[in-house]
Structure formats: structure tokens, C-alpha cells
Symmetry: C2
Subunit: 304 residues, 2 copies
């Protein structure tokens, strides 16, 4: 706890090494994080934007462009990139990170990748903590990038103030888009790579899929490549950020609800992971002997 | 409970309508299922095979072929197809189901789709129960088909005795394959659509990715299209089924461990869903006022 307080002080003073250490702490040892986060008392001042969408839609490039745009506005930008752990494609993802590292010498930018290994409950909780640490460290804008191919990625962006869903032409009949629940969570939808064939069609499909939503989210066509105009996207973000600046309570409550639920989900996932192999084996044997049903065993599995 | 006993009797007698009703029951009202499953006392005789892999790899066609092959061996075959809920691609998935419905007049085949809506914890539990019901109803082989694009799909196939992972050429640099944890769960890997270019390359990538596994799983190239030879796959399945017939305990313990853990996961997910909106709002307000940290709120969220 004393170590936490000291680390917190350094993070609040803007020490980058301590910031990195703090995030490593919440990523690796959830048990030791509460002390740190309590000591930090994040001001809830940072504007938190989630960027999600299927693989290959250009999220990292878009995030890279947003960093540049917001640095021009003199905002300090923190980025948490939630990476799928990927033995096969590690190279490509590493490439993304290297590309973003173009901001490496800029102390107004902090970029951190967090890996999604196995059960994602822990990741949601760690992400929520990491965002709070960036807030406490004085970052004005926090971008949270996730690969939206699973329910868990969508849940993670629930901890933000605004969600950008990045799509591209040709995704209209892609099961991922609908399965992942992306149509429910976005405040802004971007059809990226809009020079590709089928961009108009994608916009039409998108507008159709969003029709049921109570408030119509923004739908934008753009190309996030360097040199291309993304002013429309920045305007759409700024509109929500203005609302946040004027009356932060509403959006902060939304984000906090998300953080609390994700942290609770992480706690539950952890309690499941703590079930010992021997306990699971014992329960399975009891079921096989006909002494318990699967359902009864599932209720007893948390006992000692 | 009395209704459960009656329904159980009818299912045990092989009444198809009651079988369908039982599955609907475990799918929709988890609370009423324990009585039914207790009354059923499944014999743990069915051989349970999971079929998973990314969308578009031809899993449904493969399952269709396996049904035909095993009907020739005079085995009764039950199929649970876990469908992503999909407003956009509903048509395509429905097409899959219609294709499989070619077996509709065969009373030795029972096919049921279960939808994955939102949080998947409930689905895992329902799937586990549905498999037990098919076992109790006397099916010799239960095929469990899931779209392996998320961690949850992989967890679901953990309730089986054998897992077939279906891939296709060109998936070598697909993030889904690795993220979803498919490289850890398969007993048999099928590179389907093997006439397509890149089949050899996919096999090479696959063998590389599987190298770390303690026991080498089978890797097969084939085309599951009607009329093409899938004898190699049937042989690989039969090898595991022979092991199951000879000494069912080991594989039944594996499957039961999976069922117990998935059922526990479903229970946990449900307790999270039961958290009222007002409770979450209240907790978020407390955090905003600085009275609680997110972590403290997450621990209190289950109180009244």
C-alpha cells in the first residue's frame, strides 16, 4: 500500500516510467491495483474514446491520424491498444505498434498495448484500470483501440465516453460485424478505405442496420491514410467532447457504469480461474458416479 | 418438478416433440432445467464431437456429410448448431440450416440451432444441457457446431470428447484463427476446400502453429463437398471414438469438467446480468462523488 502511494505520486507528477509501471501492475497483478487506483483518485477529466471494428479496417492508422490531429490542438493523448494475442499474426500487429511509434519522441503521447490472452474478463478490468491511470496522469484524451471481433471487445468499449466503430467497404455480409454487437455500441460509424469499391453500398447497409437505434449515430465515409482529410471525423468527436466538457456528469456516469461492470466481470472470471484442477476433477467424478448433476456440481465448484 | 419428470419420461422414450421442448426449456429458462436434467440422468453414452472454425470454412457442409456417413453406420446423430445471432447475415445462416434439413425425414437425425445473443455465458450452459438431453434421448453421436470467432465458442467445444477445427486455404494470416484459441483445442484439424490455392501452405502454417502441443493432433486436407471423399476424417474420428468406447471414463471426465465449468460460467454471467440498472447507476454516482473506487463499487454491485 505504501509502495502504491509512492508510485501514485510519481504518476500524478507525470513520470512516464512510473506511468508504464502502474499499467504493468494493473495488467499483471489485479490484487495490488486497488491501492494504486485509490491513491490516484483519477479526476475523471480525460475524454475517453473507444475505437473498435473488425480486423483490417484500418483502426491503427485512424488512431495514428487522430493522435496527430489532437496534438495540433495541444491535447495530451494516451492510447491503450488491446491486442489479440497472436502467435501467427504477431508480426502484423507489431507493425501497427511500430507505425504508431512515430509519436515516440513526443512526451504528449503515451501508447501502450495490452494483450488479450485467453479469458478476456481480466483484460476488461485491466483496461479500465489503465484508462483511469492515464486520466490521473493528466492525459486529456484517451483512445482505447480494440479489435471488435468478439463480445468482449464490445464490452470493453463500454467504459468510454464515445465509441467510433470502424468498418470498410465489402463488410456488408460479414458475420463478424453483426455478431460482435457493433451495431449497438457506436456513437460514430466510419466507413474507412472509402476509395474502395462498394463504399456507398456499405453506407446503405449500415444506415439500414442502425435504423432501429433511438438516437441516430453519425455515419462517415473517409480514408484514414496520411494526407487524406479526416476533419469530418474530428468534428463528430468534437461535438461529443463539447457535450462532455459542458456537462461531464452524464457521460462520466456512462463510463463508470461500464468500468464497474467490467471490473465485476473480471472478478467473476477470476473466481472461475481460481477453481483448482483437482476440484474440477473431483466434481466431474461425482457427476460420472451419478451423485451430482452437472448443474449441482457447477454450484459447488467454488467451495473448498 | 413434476412436469420435468413427465417430460423426462417422454424424452427417454424418444418422443421428438418432447425432445425439442426440453431443449427449448434449457435454452430459455435455466432455472427450470435442473429438475429436467436430474430426472433424465443422462447415461453418458453419446460420443460428443465439437466442430468449430472461422466463418466460411464450410463447417455446416462438413457436418452434413458427417451425418450421412454416420447414418450409414446406423448411428443416431444429434446436432446442436450454435448460431451467431445475425440481423445482417441471417439469410446465409438460415440457408445452412435448410441445407442440413435434407435429413429432416430421417428420425435417426435431430438438428437444432441455438442462437448466441449478447453475453454467451448463458449459451454455454444451455448447450451443455442440450447435449445432455440428446445423450439421454439415446443419440449415439452428438455434433456440436460453433462458429469459432470468439473465446466463448472455443470454451463451448470444451464440453466434447473430440474437437474438429475446420480451416481453409488462405487463413494463414487471419487474426481470428489465433485469437480464438483454435490452435489449442483441436484433436483433428481439417484444411477444407483443399482444391483452392494455398492448401499446402495452410497445412505448413498449421503444422508450425501446432508444434508446441504435447500430443500432435491429426491434420487433414479434404473437400467436404458432396461426392468428395472424407473417409480420412471419419477414420480420425473413429480412432477417438474407439478409445471412448473402450474406456469412456477419461473422455467423459474431460467433457464433464468442461460442462461443469461452462455451467458455472453461465451462473456467473447471469448474476452479472441480474444487477439492476439502478444499482449500477447508484454505484457509478458513488464513484463520481469520490466515495468509492471503481474496484470497491465492483465488489459491492451484487449487494441489495
Amino acid at each position: 500500500m505504501r509502495g502504491s502511494a509512492e508510485l501514485a505520486q510519481k504518476i500524478l507528477r507525470g513520470d512516464r516510467l512510473s506511468l508504464a509501471r502502474g499499467i504493468t501492475l494493473v495488467e499483471s497483478t489485479p490484487g495490488s491495483a486497488p491501492g494504486l487506483l485509490k491513491a490516484l483518485r483519477p479526476p475523471r477529466r480525460a475524454f475517453i474514446v473507444g475505437v473498435t471494428g473488425p480486423p483490417g479496417t484500418g483502426k491503427s492508422t485512424l488512431v495514428d491520424r487522430l493522435i496527430s490531429q489532437y496534438r495540433k490542438k495541444n491535447l495530451r493523448v494516451g492510447v491503450i491498444a488491446v491486442d489479440p494475442s497472436s502467435p501467427i499474426t504477431g508480426g502484423a500487429l507489431l507493425g501497427d505498434r511500430i507505425r504508431m511509434a512515430g509519436h515516440g519522441k513526443d512526451t504528449g503521447v503515451f501508447i501502450r498495448s495490452m494483450a488479450s490472452r485467453g479469458w478476456t474478463g481480466g483484460l476488461s478490468r485491466a483496461t479500465s484500470s489503465a484508462v483511469q491511470i492515464l486520466d490521473a496522469a493528466g492525459f486529456d484524451l484517451v483512445l482505447l483501440e480494440t479489435v471488435g471481433i468478439g463480445q468482449s471487445d464490445v464490452e470493453v468499449v463500454g467504459i468510454t465516453h464515445a465509441v467510433i466503430v470502424v468498418l470498410m467497404p465489402g463488410l456488408g455480409d460479414d458475420v463478424q460485424v453483426s455478431k460482435a454487437g457493433l451495431m449497438e455500441v457506436g456513437d460514430i460509424y466510419v466507413v474507412n478505405k472509402a476509395d474502395l469499391e462498394g463504399a456507398n453500398q456499405m453506407v446503405t447497409i449500415l444506415l439500414g442496420a442502425l435504423r432501429g437505434r433511438p438516437q441516430s449515430p453519425s455515419v462517415l465515409r473517409l480514408s484514414a491514410l496520411p494526407g487524406k482529410d479526416i476533419a469530418g471525423l474530428v468534428d463528430a468527436i468534437e461535438e461529443i467532447r463539447a457535450r462532455f466538457s459542458k456537462a461531464p456528469k452524464e457521460l462520466n456516469l456512462r463510463s463508470l457504469r461500464g468500468m464497474i461492470v467490467e471490473t465485476a466481470r473480471g472478478n467473476l472470471a477470476e473466481s472461475l480461474q481460481r477453481v483448482s484442477e483437482s476440484k474440477a476433477d473431483e466434481m466431474a467424478s461425482q457427476v460420472l458416479l451419478g451423485r451430482l448433476t452437472v448443474e449441482e456440481a457447477a454450484l459447488r465448484i467454488f467451495g473448498n
